[in-house]
Symmetry: C2
Subunit: 413 residues, 2 copies
Amino acid sequence: MTLLRSWVASANSGTTDFPLNNLPYGVFDAGAGPRMGVAIGDQILDLAAVDHRLDPELFAHPSWNAVMAAGPKVWAALRARLTELLSDEAHRASVEPHLLPQAGAAMLMPFTVTEYTDFYAGKNHAVNVGTMFRGAENALPPNWLSIPIGYNGRASSVVVSGTPVPRPWGQVKGPDEALPRLAPSARFDLELEMGAIVGQPSTGMVSVAEADAMIFGYVLLNDWSARDIQAWEYQPLGPFQSKATATTISPWIVTTAALEPFRVSTPDRERPLLPYLREPGPMLYDIALEVGLAPEGGAETVISRTNYREMYYSAAQQLAHHTSSGCAMRVGDLLGSGTISGTRPDSRGSLLELSWGGKEPLTLDTGETRTFLQDGDRLTLRGAAEGPGYRIGFGNCAGQILPAADLPAWAKE
Amino acid sequence: MTLLRSWVASANSGTTDFPLNNLPYGVFDAGAGPRMGVAIGDQILDLAAVDHRLDPELFAHPSWNAVMAAGPKVWAALRARLTELLSDEAHRASVEPHLLPQAGAAMLMPFTVTEYTDFYAGKNHAVNVGTMFRGAENALPPNWLSIPIGYNGRASSVVVSGTPVPRPWGQVKGPDEALPRLAPSARFDLELEMGAIVGQPSTGMVSVAEADAMIFGYVLLNDWSARDIQAWEYQPLGPFQSKATATTISPWIVTTAALEPFRVSTPDRERPLLPYLREPGPMLYDIALEVGLAPEGGAETVISRTNYREMYYSAAQQLAHHTSSGCAMRVGDLLGSGTISGTRPDSRGSLLELSWGGKEPLTLDTGETRTFLQDGDRLTLRGAAEGPGYRIGFGNCAGQILPAADLPAWAKE
């Protein structure tokens, strides 16, 4: 695959996130209310306005859930038609009036999140966290090499890139304190993840191959995490309020069709998997990822560079495991990959790992240091699959940390 | 409060679950498709057909979410109007044609579950389980007396009473096995709980008093649990597939208005709570509960009798904690109380506790014994608040265990 050329000039730059090869789907508001659109170069094509040849009802509500529910044939037909409309000069006159500059549009949530599940399926992350908390000998839990470990998260917490993230309050207890306190989190962190969007429903157990075909596309995902709240609350039933403040996703759904040339295999298994989790082919993707941190009013430092291919389990494996007990999956379910850390210190996907539990502060390009996030910090995740002469980019997944809200009187001593 | 008399004779029996004092809300199908109804004696009143004096749109879709979203003034107006219609003989001629016998109606899900959260807030249950797994000295986790411990469950798993429950497959590993196996759960269990239904949304932290006012009503809830799957999967991020097969709720939403006379306080605190969790008044309810187990083709044995007042934390406290990190709550969120066990051996709310981890089999009235559930077993939860000459009942919360599905070829070795 090489660059597919469009009559939209900015799509052919080779450096844009959104060449014709990509065609990611979002919901935008350029002043006329929320509408469904596709990104092309530095423009957005208004999908309700073009001759897409599909049921107009699919584009009547500003959310991609109806298109997802319509199934893979509709997904393929829409992509083929958009490719035709945006490549063939013959369509330019009718289509060009429905392009709007991305710079003038606010991006909204691209789909309604039905349920949100977060996994813990990056081995380097699991080993790093396990080493910090349990020592190198017991870093990986006994089940880790057999199960893509996951927990249910909070769908109501998922927000689109650009939404400010207030520092959460929560119960925390220091090791020398007898009783917990209600306090703003002092160890508020990011987690660099990919989010897989379930585009077709299931009941009963599905195979990894079936699961792969159910996935409509991917977004970047930042699973904001309050480490101090988590440490006190998470035994015995897992993270709860520590993960419920916000989960930020990038605004463009990059489809599996666009990512197809970038499939890669999961790493060799260190322990054989049970048959229901074995992959019939490559189901990860080669997607370069980075994390930028900009203090308020300061320049950004890239604090981590890694790749989605570092995962031990693919989203298809996670989804297959998710159905193993008979759990029904629905259109719009979102699966967080788990934190994506590489093997090098500068490829870790969380400040918990980058600062090694807060013991080794990072020095930013501004000269400031960081263990965990400060008020005013702006975090930006970026990602792209790199092809010959083009890139399949995700756009930004950004959020700025606001100071904790004032505590209501009834919550004070 | 004494029995309120209705012109529907069966509502005045003193033994019905559904006197005029109750007026619980459900969705039924008596052959003409799903409709919203209220139970009165052994009848259901079709709400779309009566002169309720509210916006007909509230009753146009077969789910109680719209009425919940309309807010407490609408809740009060509907209850007052139904009380008038069903007590005053003057309305009998116009209302009676819209009564249908419960015996001829199938009950459907009364509301759309937005998200489902399950708690672990019964102290006797937590002590029993902790003693079995960690010994009596370490039975309660360190955070337990400070936090109503909860985890996010799977909304797609929630089903209405009567839905069969297939035994789940899952990864299990015995203590003497080197590697896990995929197997039907051999330790499939019930959990006797109450479910609180969030009827009003929130953003940001809410007080316990505000949380109490957000709750629309309660149902009985059976959080089916595969103990062997849970044991292998739950560290470090909590229960996942072990709880995702099914969660059964009773079909009638008993409103907080009906339960108002039965408010009781949570027990004395063994450790002071942080101010945000302190209750300004009694927020539990005195609801007698029982669990019946009937082997296939055999008579039922009541295997447990307990009361919702045994909880250490109320649903209002759980909901307030749920919002502490800024987590948004939405109309239709469902909160499971956690397993409700009394202090006596025959008041425990799960087979795990009743059979003490499978070591002390129960003998049923049929002469059979049980540690965990057998295929064909029918479990029924019942509950009622008992007033002078009347009861506020919940109806049945029942489910029968089906054999595990056949394993697909791709899941076999």
